[in-house]
């Protein structure tokens, strides 16, 4: 291929601007490849050149991933890219989301192919796999060389043969979870019966629609002494301080807010409100205790029924959250609780 112009997206760390302390960095466009981009350019081969690298801090991006992505794409427009590659982000939370959001915006605004690289377990994968081609990589930066191999291979294939030529069974990319219509001469009834017969006979069969299965987890042992227990409050009702200082999403949550309630005795209207795209907020906004029963729990603490309530309310809008994301967020919450000496949780939902 003659002169394919590639723009590469990196965060502040891989873009060699600094570590976590530089996560607030706004976008910088640099000519040519930076850091891993140089190796990526080699792996892409002759005929491809990384004409520019967009470097952006993970926090700057995560404040408003879609809006910031749109801005960033416009910054790179004058480079006239033919292909956009982002990452590898490995399993990083903000970075994988930033890469994917940027790829989606680039594809849309510049009408060119885009690929982001991340691990199967990356938060960005759950959120964006249906919207963007994602090249696969491991979850550690130690696997950078292989990650760049995959990103280059998938990038080339998408540009040269189109997205539809990709097959996760063969190419190093993540499954999309997309439903495709195909023409067949066998009716659904016949196919379903054939599957059932095979299943009953203990023979292999291929489901056409893999269903989400809820893995049964072993219930945790009960609280022994309630009076000695600090309770963590979680809500999927999206309760936040007025003004949404953490800029939480009102649907398709990808993280949870830490709402400070340590000094709060009662969730008062006007101070707290619901940020959730899936239910009528009127009643809860009139009294947020209707969603998060802090008033009652403070009474119970004073009475010695419980030891207290964790100082942060973990809050997110539950509507449209991907189950895989929920599982990850729940595990994160549990880790935070363990660290903070909180041993039981009360989750309230709409």
């Amino acid at each position: 291929m003659a002169g394919v112009r590639v723009v590469h997206y990196l965060n502040q760390f891989f873009g060699q601007r600094g570590g976590e302390e530089q996560a607030h960095l706004g976008p910088a466009l640099v000519e040519g490849p930076v850091g891993p981009g140089a190796i990526l350019a080699q792996k892409l081969g002759p005929g491809y050149s990384v004409v520019g690298t967009l470097i952006c801090g993970d926090n700057y991006k995560s404040d408003a991933p879609e809006e910031r992505s749109r801005e960033l794409v416009e910054l790179a427009r004058h480079l006239r890219p033919d292909l956009v590659l982002a990452g590898p982000a490995f399993a990083a939370g903000r970075y994988s989301i930033a890469c994917a959001a940027f790829g989606v915006a680039a594809a849309k605004q510049l009408r060119i192919p885009a690929v982001a690289s991340m691990a199967e377990s990356a938060p960005g994968a759950d959120i964006y796999r249906r919207d963007l081609v994602l090249a696969q990589c491991g979850d550690s930066a130690r696997q950078m060389a292989e990650a760049l191999d995959h990103l280059a291979a998938v990038g080339r294939k998408v540009l040269e043969q189109g997205e539809s030529a990709l097959d996760p069974a063969v190419d190093p990319c993540l499954k999309r979870g997309l439903r495709r219509n195909v023409l067949t001469t066998v009716t659904a009834a016949d196919r379903a019966v054939a599957m059932l017969v095979a299943k009953l006979a203990g023979q292999p069969y291929q489901t056409e629609v893999p269903l989400l299965s809820a893995e049964r987890t072993t219930p945790a042992p009960p609280v022994q002494t309630l009076a000695a227990t600090r309770i963590g409050l979680v809500t999927t009702g999206g309760i936040i301080p007025h003004g949404n200082p953490e800029r939480l999403r009102s649907h398709v949550a990808d993280r949870y807010g830490h709402v400070p309630i340590g000094a709060v005795d009662d969730l008062r209207p006007g101070e707290f409100e619901a940020n959730h795209g899936g239910f009528f907020h009127g009643y809860v906004n009139d009294d947020p205790d209707r969603m998060v029963p802090l008033d009652v729990l403070r009474d119970m603490t004073r009475e010695g029924r419980i030891a207290g309530v964790h100082e942060y309310l973990f809050s997110l809008a539950g509507t449209g959250t991907f189950p895989e994301v929920s599982r990850r967020l729940g595990a994160e919450m549990a880790r935070e609780y363990q660290h903070a000496g909180v041993h039981a949780a009360l989750v309230t939902s709409t």
Binding site: A214, E215, R216, T217, P219, A220, P221, P222, V223, Q224, L226, T229, I231, V234, G237, F279, F280, H281, G282, Y283, V284, D286, D287, D289, R290, M291, V292, P293, D295, V296, L297, D299, M300, R305, I306, A334, Y337, Q338, V342, H343, A344, A345, L346, V347, T348, S349, T350
Partner: protein
């Protein structure tokens, strides 16, 4: 760690095999009832929270 869910969608809790859950009042006010006066509403909320905490102390 044990967790208890107060929800208005018990069928979802069942389907997701949530071990400890409680049915709340209604979707727009899971732990309240605007038709009640403030005192009775808080009593209702207290009862629900007590039930939830009792579940936390129950083996599953």
């Amino acid at each position: 760690m044990p967790a208890v869910l107060i929800t208005n969608l018990p069928t979802v809790a069942e389907a997701m095999a949530v071990p400890r859950y409680l049915n709340g009042v209604a979707i727009p006010h899971v732990l309240g009832n605007p038709a009640l006066d403030a005192i009775h509403e808080k009593q209702l909320r207290r009862r629900l929270v007590e039930q939830a905490l009792a579940l936390l102390c129950t083996a599953k």
